[in-house]
């Protein structure tokens, strides 16, 4: 318990928890608005949901194919590092469709293309970018850390 309290008193943890707490009502409001527009329960909603998941997986698979197929030389560890990008690709892909279609109001075909591209670029670009952001934050807050990385 004491260690948890000590962790929460650390400057980085308090800044992060502050951001997290501030974003909760905003996220809830946005989710409520989006769900109201999406009409869950209709056939179109489920077909679209399935198609979006398929799309970002397709994009992610296309970007990590050379590593899995061993077209480039590397260690097993190099190949396994691409697994870390699945979540990033998934989030980026879903944002690509639902954000583009419901928030920005793009045409559906443009959202489809952006979902696949986000799935492809999620691991390739976002993971290294997030790694750099974490490293920069760690440097500002005076903490060590390698900041993650990207694909080999």
């Amino acid at each position: 318990m004491r260690s948890i309290l000590r962790f929460l008193q650390a400057p980085s943890a308090s800044i992060a928890s502050g951001f997290l707490l501030a974003s909760v009502p905003l996220a809830a409001l946005a989710a409520e608005q989006v769900v109201r527009v999406l009409e869950p329960g209709t056939v179109r909603f489920w077909v679209t949901l399935g198609a979006v998941q398929l799309l970002w997986l397709f994009g992610y698979g296309a970007s990590s194919l050379p590593a899995w197929a061993k077209w480039r030389d590397g260690t097993v560890h190099d190949r396994l590092t691409i697994v870390s990008g699945v979540i990033t690709s998934g989030i980026a892909g879903n944002i690509g469709y639902y954000g583009g279609y419901y928030m920005v109001g793009l045409a559906e075909i443009a959202c489809f293309i952006s979902t696949g591209l986000a799935g492809w670029g999620g691991d390739k670009f976002l993971t290294p970018l997030l790694g750099r952001v974490v490293t920069a934050f760690d440097a500002i807050l005076g903490r060590g850390g390698d900041g993650g990385g990207g694909k080999p």
């Binding site: 077209w71 030389d73 045409a107 075909i109």
Partner: protein, 158 residues
């Protein structure tokens, strides 16, 4: 593993032409597809996406088929392009085309009446699979020809 991609150019030409034609068919003409898309309000987006991606794929395939026989494998110059650059571009275009065909498959499953266009219902998934094949083969060539990437599995031959 021996890799090459020039033999796929006629297929890419056909895939690009097919997508371009369907793009025109949904964007103009007042046909059945046009009316279905009009109900969704997607005529313009359909026309732009399919004609742009299909036109690019068809145009580049035609250009490379006619002029690309003796291109260098790897070059730092912009012109004439290298085989490596061409394979990268063709892989990117095949990836984009696969996404567009997936969208068409989704519409066939999703929009009532779309599956009545039997040619489209058969052609869209088949074209998606062919685009995946084109993407994979061009990506292999791209990795085989890039001197900055070490590979012991891929070996390019014309």
């Amino acid at each position: 593993m021996k890799v090459a991609s020039r033999f796929l150019l006629p297929l890419e030409l056909f895939l690009g032409l097919t997508m371009f034609s369907w793009g025109l068919s949904g964007g103009f003409g007042r046909g059945f597809l046009y009316k279905l898309l009009e109900r969704l309000g997607d005529n313009q987006a359909w026309l732009v996406a399919l004609c742009l991606v299909g036109g690019l794929q068809m145009g580049w395939a035609m250009f490379e088929w006619l002029c690309g026989r003796n291109w260098q494998l790897w070059t730092t110059r912009h012109w004439p392009p290298s085989v490596h650059f061409a394979a990268s571009l063709r892989a990117s275009m095949a990836f984009l085309a696969a996404l567009v065909w997936l969208y068409v498959v989704k519409l066939v499953l999703d929009v009532p009446g779309m599956a009545q266009i039997t040619v489209l219902a058969i052609l869209a998934p088949a074209s998606f699979l062919f685009c995946c094949w084109v993407f994979v083969e061009n990506l292999k060539v791209r990795y085989a020809l890039n001197p900055q990437i070490s590979t012991s599995t891929l070996r390019f031959h014309r």
